[in-house]
Symmetry: C2
Subunit: 137 residues, 2 copies
């Protein structure tokens, strides 16, 4: 059996993110600072726990996030972005850009998205640095 439908960049990306939840989870880890299962459960959109479990497993297998024990709480897991995950930042920014232009975004609720889109490469670089600091080892 074949591993991929094709080896086109767009297709390979959609094989990973071609569902309604994966990128929303990445958003919460990347921009909302969420690092625990329970935090991710409280997404604005209301994800179900089994779907969240599935996606976290998939994203970890893809090497986009990593999972570690919380030293202060045996049962808690900390989810972090890998470099591969952090590298999704430019895609997120362009999605924000497109969405702000063409979709009915709630500007009051998502001021940080507006800021990031308007902030240009300089702000994006700063955000990237902060993510590397918080998520990589």
């Amino acid at each position: 059996m074949e591993k991929h439908r094709s080896y086109c960049p767009v297709n390979l990306t959609m094989e990973v993110f071609g569902d309604k939840w994966s990128l929303v989870i990445i958003r919460d880890i990347m921009f909302e600072g969420k690092r625990y299962f329970r935090e991710l459960m409280q997404s604005e959109e209301g994800i179900a726990s089994n779907i969240l479990t599935d996606r976290l497993v998939m994203l970890e297998q893809e090497g986009i996030i990593s999972k570690a024990d919380d030293p202060g709480h045996k049962q808690k897991n900390i989810y972090s972005l890998t470099l591969k995950g952090i590298d999704l930042l430019p895609i997120m920014v362009e999605i924000g850009n497109w969405s702000l232009k063409h979709k009915p975004v709630d500007l009051n609720k998502h001021k940080h998205a507006v800021k990031l889109v308007k902030g240009g490469m300089k702000l994006q670089g700063e955000v990237r640095k902060a993510l590397i600091k918080d998520h990589l080892k």
Copy 2:
């Protein structure tokens, strides 16, 4: 019933493109110059005709593509990108960028993707101009 799960830019975008095919179809229209149903059927990944129909209807309702009669053939439809669709170009480029770095892209088959990613803003601007010329009105 609510129209959207939330009015976050990422979520609004995933409500449209959160499936395995929509962006692959856009890719074929945008980069492969495909404009007819039959051409789109021959995607490398092998889309089924009913899925293609569904997605084309959805993308048209979303205002991302438009559908027009072929003047030379009563039964043929020409699919074009709208400005909203053309504005997906930066997202495509960033997806290419990420994929080239982190996924097993077939570099020989997708040289034009490499070129577009390496070409920077200048080439992207040229491609955008060409798309506007070919697809709008």
